[in-house]
Point group: C2
Chain length 288, copies 2
Amino acid sequence: MDPHLLRTYVTVARLASFSAAARELGFTQSAVSQHIAALEHDLGMPLLSRRPVAPTRAGERLLEHAGSLLLRLEAARADLARMAGEPAEELTLAASPLAVRPDALAALPVSRATLRVLPREEIPVAVAKGSADLGLVDGLAAPSDPLRLPDVAPLTATGVAEEPVAVVLPDGHPLTRRPGLRLADLVDARWLDAPEAGLPLDQLRAATATARGFRPALRYEGTDIRTLIGLAAAGHGLTLLPLAPARAYGTVAVPLTEPRLVHRTELLHTGVLRGPAEELARRLQSGP
Amino acid sequence: MDPHLLRTYVTVARLASFSAAARELGFTQSAVSQHIAALEHDLGMPLLSRRPVAPTRAGERLLEHAGSLLLRLEAARADLARMAGEPAEELTLAASPLAVRPDALAALPVSRATLRVLPREEIPVAVAKGSADLGLVDGLAAPSDPLRLPDVAPLTATGVAEEPVAVVLPDGHPLTRRPGLRLADLVDARWLDAPEAGLPLDQLRAATATARGFRPALRYEGTDIRTLIGLAAAGHGLTLLPLAPARAYGTVAVPLTEPRLVHRTELLHTGVLRGPAEELARRLQSGP
DNA sequence: TCTTCTTACGCTCGGCGTAAGTATC
DNA sequence: GATACTTACGCCGAGCGTAAGAAGA
């Protein structure tokens, strides 16, 4: 279970070829063969079927383990490396689309900073790997509950903002008049499926015992919120957004009152913060 | 960052001695010295201060990473090993104290089974490492929300039971008459601190923005629920328990209505279930 | 027959133990 | 000076590449 062997294993599995993996890793194909043989011998079972090269059942399972193992290994190295060098002049902030609020933008230093917008799940990974110094993630949670983040490495999360969530309705929709909406009112509605730009609807599923999942309508794969709101306003389906951006373009959005959920933003970082990263973190936390 | 080196490192750090670690690991003390030197060279920084042997700041951080890393490595091996051998006759069920309900006990096979009661946090670890085939964990959650479990390895969790939670009150307590209690009514109360037997109060803290933590009273370190109830009935402090056990001994317990939380029990297992484990899992899931 | 993985074999280097060295209590 | 970690050095084995072998398309 040497990480080197695991690394070759996942590469072989991904490329479905010993020789291609060898090229990518800079080994001879013989070495790759020996790696796999060693791993299979160590675990006492075949991991790959040959011709065509495909993981066995056990191999599939190993891939799940290996992924997070190698990620954590990389995270540990990156974390320690950050402690060694000097405070680092340049700064990278990774944020999910809805986590970027005006006050966060105001806190950014004018130069030597990069703002990288990524899908929600990739934020913790980016911070863990060290490809970002700080992360801003958003999500749905009960008021003052922490977000459910995949713990990909020992990261520290601190809440920086909470605000109500609202359902964006097309102009003239019958529910427009209401001051607040319950999710139960909307079980028959069609929802926009926007995994990158919108809020994760699957977190709502648990809350609504009545609804057996959400009926998806159009799917939007971009990260632009304005487009998402446009789609909702055009009647392609409902979408859930934090109240402020939901109403930013003059669209009609009604707060969601039941279940009681808030849009929460958390700041993610590793153990020690120094230099510009520390400065930015302080400003983001005291910001709103 | 070879796992062998990490293992040596955590051992040295734990024992605060190179030579003691060498004895425990079956190496010469010279080899241990070389391991640490190799690790420090690889990461480019000192990890341990010598005389006395103690982790540096970076070393402390590495310990956090190394712990979960080695655990996951062990979990991966155990998981794969379980897929290889035959379905295994003996069966071990690890459960937290409050997860063991009468219906779970009824589902247990009469022989060749072990029921191991452990503190809540150790259940996922036991299942991951393979020292238990199945796990039953309990905790507090919003209705039909999954529990927040530390993801120590790719485990599958399925809900098996949910029931109301109640506050155990001493006889004659002023709040006894009420049909239901809100946590806000109880912020001034003293709570029993029973991390192993009781429910995790820290999960409540987030829910009560008003209360700045709970005022702890007596601390109980055992796992026996009857004792815990006895302490509460004797007026040593309040305690939170699932409704049924809370009232099992004729004690006064009032359901908690706000925040809306349930006592949830989940079944934990790894990817594939075979033999008696599969049988038991099915019975536990359909049980209540 | 060509491609692709496996096996044989030799070489090199990593890693362990023995033993000598060094620093701290 | 005793204890505990480090360094020197030699030996063995792990792991890589070259090259030959086997098996499927």
